[in-house]
């Protein structure tokens, strides 16, 4: 994963959330993303982009945290 654009597009596709324009503080749960959806999303991102989320990483709760995690993965630091 070289940059975040494909992952952001994937999130938009799956959850209908545009992470570029979304309020960073917006809670994912208030946007209809429950823990199961998030689990599935992260699994799909790992599979699709060949990245691995560190098991110690807490699940993102807000749009900002999700965007941050994807940026982290894109930078290859996870």
């Amino acid at each position: 994963m070289q940059d975040t654009a494909p992952a952001f597009r994937f999130v938009q596709e799956r959850l209908g959330i545009d992470l570029k324009s979304a309020d960073a503080a917006a809670e994912l749960s208030s946007l209809g993303v429950d823990s199961l959806s998030l689990l599935e999303l992260m699994f799909e991102i790992e599979e699709k982009f060949g990245v691995k989320v560190d098991e110690d990483t807490p699940p993102p709760r807000s749009c900002g945290e999700l965007a941050g995690l994807l940026e982290h993965l894109a930078a290859g630091r996870s």
């Binding site: 799956r14 209809g32 199961l36 689990l39 599935e40």
Partner: protein, 414 residues
């Protein structure tokens, strides 16, 4: 006899012959087959068998991408049929009344068979070491009932019956009991199945009960009651009924399609796969007794008949035993000849067909040729080849007889 009566106020269906209950019933009346030659995708050793496929079903269009991705196909079909029944009953999706006691009863034989197969393929053939996190909740047999309960805020009993080919009929019967007893003012009942996985087809082939067929003959491959019958045809599909306390339905001005008047069940307690006429007759008599219905009232039976050599003739023997002198006058057909055998969902598709036969006063035929009737299946008034329309029907039965010997009969009144 209970004072409470149970009204059927909503119907939904997604089947190989149509995307709705009414469209499917129209196709059945017009003797249109939904069967075709089916090749399961990505099969390691390609096969093609006649099957009933809901080819036009688009889960993403019907449910949205997020919901559809969370469900196995059996659940997608079931939720779409269940919600359609609910809308048909004129009930709002969000609760505008207290639904704390309202029930869901669902039937499925194989639940998430496609999900299991996809997952095993990834593990055993794909060399993967982990599965999608939602695998468990997609595959579980009770997922469909729970998705419906959540969507419609039905807070009473939420049960799933897995009784092979009698699954949905038992679900409908149990829901009927809950409404008649007063435990639930209303219930959503039905069943769904999506069994067209490569491994499932291989397993049924191994049992040697599938009807043969090629691209030309697949549409007519299921020939219940006919001498040329060669077995059953697997199918996917879903159907649902809204069952409602009669007085409640009347008070809110609901359209009442028919009365579900009785439910009977029995076990052959004889053999896992060979059906038993005595066992089936016990379920038939139990349904009639439960409904307070005399054999003379019965004008139509939607038969279980799957098109197997042994099963069809045994069912006719059971009808002759239970209906006695009335049997020769009773119209009988098997709509499986058109929609195939959706296993655990069969009882729901056929209950809907039976209700619509009463409501629209028309009997859908067994597809095929009346001249080809097997003498071993004679003794009732078969409706073969063409529908009987303008048929004033008073009462009708829907039979579901399962591998394992579990029998369920639903008795409806116009």
């Amino acid at each position: 006899m209970s004072a409470r009566r149970v009204a059927v106020t909503g119907l939904g269906m997604v089947s190989p012959v149509g995307a709705s209950a009414q469209d499917s019933f129209d196709a059945l009346l017009d003797a249109r087959s939904g069967l075709r030659l089916y090749e399961p995708p990505d099969a390691p050793r390609p096969i093609a068998v006649p099957a009933g496929v809901c080819a036009d079903f688009d889960p993403v269009a019907a449910l949205g991408a997020t919901q559809a991705a969370r469900m196995d196909r059996y659940c997608q079909l079931g939720v779409v049929a269940g919600l359609a029944a609910w809308r048909d009953a004129g009930l709002a999706q969000t609760a505008d009344e207290d639904r704390a006691a309202w029930a869901v009863a669902w039937g499925t034989g194989m639940g998430g068979a496609l999900t299991y197969e996809r997952s095993y393929r990834q593990l055993f053939a794909g060399g993967r070491d982990r599965l999608a996190p939602l695998t468990v909740v997609q595959a579980m047999n009770n997922a469909c009932a729970s998705h419906l309960a959540i969507a419609l805020q039905l807070g009473g009993s939420c049960s799933t019956y897995s009784v092979a080919c009698a699954s949905a009929a038992m679900a409908i019967g149990e829901a009927f009991r809950r409404v008649r007893s007063g435990a639930a003012p209303a219930a959503l009942a039905g069943g769904s199945e999506a069994p067209l996985a490569y491994g499932v087809i291989r397993a049924w082939l191994a049992l040697q009960v599938l009807a043969p067929g090629d691209a030309q003959s697949a549409a007519g491959a299921c020939k219940p009651f006919q001498a040329a019958r060669g077995g059953l045809v697997l199918a996917e599909g879903a159907a649902a009924l809204v069952l409602e306390d009669w007085q409640r339905a009347e008070r809110r001005g609901a359209r009442i399609y028919a009365e579900l008047a009785g439910y009977g069940e029995s076990c052959d307690c004889a053999n896992l796969v060979r059906p038993d006429a005595d066992g089936q007759a016990r379920a038939l008599r139990a349904a009639l007794a439960d409904a307070g219905m005399a054999p003379a009232e019965v004008d139509y039976v939607n038969a279980h008949a799957t098109g197997t050599r042994e099963g069809d003739a045994v069912e006719i023997a059971a009808l002759a035993a239970a209906l006695g002198d009335r049997a020769p006058a009773v119209a009988v057909s098997s709509t499986k000849s058109a929609h195939g055998h959706p296993l655990g969902a069969a009882g729901a598709l056929e209950a809907v067909a039976t209700v619509l036969a009463l409501h629209r006063r028309a009997i859908p035929p067994t597809l095929g040729d009346a001249a080809g009737l097997d003498p071993a299946c004679a003794g009732v008034a078969h409706v073969i080849g063409a529908a009987r329309r303008e048929a004033p029907l008073r009462a009708a039965l829907s039979n579901s007889f399962a591998f394992g010997g579990s029998n369920a009969v639903l008795a409806f009144r116009a």
